[in-house]
């Protein structure tokens, strides 16, 4: 393999993990837009997706599609429960309090997962075999195509939901102006609950499709969650195509950095991007600056 083939390989696998970050990032943005909360527990739903699918498929011998369905369902329920028990009772709390609560929720979920499944690392079987496919000199797994496909479906569904369904439109209205939305009859409490449910489901889906490639354990949520956040920040917390682009940028840069510079610093690359964006353009790469209201 020559260098250009290497680079193609890095870019393709970077796009694949980047797609995962994009989906996780969408989850961050959805909650942020309806509540102004950065949900630090977002990554744990990614972990739950992978671990629950594994549990239903490998331990309970259910079929893979049914296991995936159940895993998303359970993760969504956990997300909704978390909102009901820990977020909803704190009306208008200080951001500091909310940061601490969601961190608490995050390590609680991680701890329970550790209690249930131990500290071992597990592999979820690939969705359709492990015969590699060679594409212009680069090798891809069929799972990579599943990732691209499912991510695309999620992005389109996300767009349709928020722009063409009545609930989605109501949720967007809430993110612009909560008081005005409640005046026109939108139940703001429900939209917050919905946003937690939807982003848990998105996180879980992302966790499921990546698990066959990268393996899964009780603590994969931290890194995946943080990189998803990085994607959302690059996209300016818009929940749209900016976040998707953000995820792909992080994925590709990380993969190139790991391949060409040093694999040990792979995780550091995402965080350096995160810090640079936060320092230089906290409003995101694709959005114009906004004045702050006090």
């Amino acid at each position: 393999m020559d260098l250009s083939e290497d680079i193609l390989q890095y870019i393709l696998s970077g796009l694949s993990t980047g797609a995962i970050y994009a989906v996780i990032g969408l989850g961050f943005a959805i909650i942020y837009n309806s509540t102004s909360i950065i949900n630090f527990a977002q990554g744990e739903f990614v972990m739950l997706g992978g671990m629950l699918t594994l549990f239903f498929h490998v331990t309970l011998f259910l079929s893979l599609p049914f296991s995936i369905f159940l895993a998303v369902l359970v993760a969504t329920a956990v997300g909704a429960l978390f909102e009901r028990l820990a977020i909803s009772p704190l009306k208008n709390a200080d951001p500091l309090i909310l940061v601490i609560i969601t961190i608490g929720g995050s390590i609680l979920i991680r701890g329970i997962a550790m209690l249930l499944w131990g500290k071992d690392t597990y592999v979820l079987p690939m969705f359709s075999g492990d015969e590699p496919i060679v594409l212009w000199g680069a090798t891809l797994m069929p799972q990579n195509f599943w990732i691209f496909g499912i991510t695309l479906i999620i992005i389109v569904a996300n767009r349709l939901f928020f722009h063409h369904s009545i609930i989605g439109k109501a949720m967007r209205a809430c993110s612009f102006n909560r008081v005005a939305s409640s005046l026109v009859g939108i139940n703001v409490k429900h939209t917050v609950l919905f946003s937690f449910a939807i982003s848990s489901a998105l996180g879980a889906a992302a966790g499921i499709i990546i698990a066959p490639l990268t393996m899964t354990s009780y603590d994969v949520g931290i890194m995946l969650g943080l990189k998803g956040f990085c994607a959302a920040i690059i996209g300016g917390m818009s929940g749209g195509i900016g976040t998707v682009a953000g995820g792909l940028i992080v994925g590709v840069l990380e993969s190139l950095g790991a391949g060409l510079i040093s694999s040990g610093y792979k995780d550091a690359i995402a965080f350096i991007i995160l810090l640079l964006i936060l320092f230089l353009r906290p409003q995101g790469l694709f959005v114009k600056g906004d004045t702050e209201r006090v």
């Binding site: 950065i38 940061v99 701890g111 995780d267 810090l275």
Partner: protein, 323 residues
């Protein structure tokens, strides 16, 4: 202020005679760590409780302090006290420089940025194997010594660490009661209002971040010289979360509360062996339950709870948005 002084002398006296009751066994060693974590929790509390600025990367400064001290003494044979000074000053400068861009951020973004900083530093500890020894750690760090006394026993280390801890507590109580302390509390309540009143909020936030870093680095240096072995896991993300939990348990803004939080979280695992496996569940639950039901921490929450139990006063709700 008189009351504060009395409280301080009482606390210092208790710490001074505590070894008589603790004995010379294993427990005294645990109390050395209580001292180190008290220093760290107080450092975070100055930033979080006083100025209202969260940091999820405190372990980075703790680790930098430990590694600078450790590498200088173990690899380059620098005098331990000198290396401690170098560690503290270097971390202070790093924190000051990093503070400007980091503390421009607020709330969730600040939390994420400090978290990112912590993880990057942790990765550097692991990857710079030539300097730090990487994941397998750095050993052979010498003990501190003073006028012929080598601090190589648990009891000597107890008094060494607690000398620094008590000094830091005194300085912190003083700082909180000073003009700077009031300015920081004003920033906590409303940064805009504080600015309008003429507080240089930006510089003050950076300064307190830097002070917090310096104190953490001191704790790191003490850690390196008392344990004589360091490895990256002692300075990871979990440690930052543990410190956050200590501060929240004790009570935001309460200096002695930080001691209480540090003591509880360091002693519990020693009494419940099984606790060690499930500690993160306990941390998670504690963070949620205390912030939801006892936002002032144990130091303020327990007396309130008693009062409301016996006098039937309603529990005050103080987690409403301020400002």
């Amino acid at each position: 202020m008189k009351q504060e002084l009395l409280k301080f002398f009482l606390f210092t006296a208790l710490i001074g005679i505590a070894p008589v009751f603790i004995g010379k066994g294993y427990l005294i060693n645990v109390f050395v760590f209580v001292g180190i974590y008290t220093i760290l929790a107080v450092a975070l509390n100055l930033l979080l409780g006083l100025a209202g600025q969260i940091s999820l990367g405190q372990a980075a400064f703790f680790g930098l302090g430990a590694y600078i001290s450790g590498v200088l003494t173990a690899t380059h044979a620098v005098n331990p006290w000198l290396s401690m000074v170098i560690a503290v000053v270097t971390v202070g400068i790093i924190a000051f420089i990093l503070g400007f861009p980091i503390l421009k951020l607020k709330g969730h973004y600040l939390a994420m940025a400090t978290l990112g900083m912590g993880i990057i530093v942790y990765i550097i500890f692991n990857e710079t194997v030539d300097i730090t020894g990487g994941p397998s750690g750095l050993s052979g760090i010498p003990h501190l010594s003073l006028g012929g006394i080598i601090f190589n026993s648990d009891l000597k280390n107890y008094y060494l660490v607690w000398f620094f801890a008590v000094t830091i507590i005194l300085l912190s109580v003083n700082l909180a009661a000073s003009r700077i302390g009031r300015a920081l509390r004003a920033i906590h309540d409303s940064e805009v209002a504080a600015r309008i009143m003429g507080v240089n909020a930006r510089l003050l936030k950076v300064q307190i971040f830097s002070i917090s870093g310096v104190i953490s680095a001191l704790a790191g240096s003490l850690y390196a010289h008392t344990v004589t072995f360091i490895s990256p896991t002692s300075f990871g993300f979990n440690v930052s979360i543990e410190l956050l939990t200590m501060v929240i348990i004790g009570g935001l803004g309460s200096i002695y509360g930080s001691f209480l939080g540090a003591a509880i979280l360091t002693l519990l695992p020693e009494f419940f062996r099984t606790f060690q496996d499930y500690d993160i569940i306990v941390y998670g639950l504690t963070l949620i339950v205390i912030t939801m039901f006892m936002p002032g921490g144990l130091v303020r929450g327990v007396p309130l709870l008693f009062r409301s139990l016996f006098k039937k006063e309603p529990m005050p709700q103080s987690n409403e948005k301020r400002g």
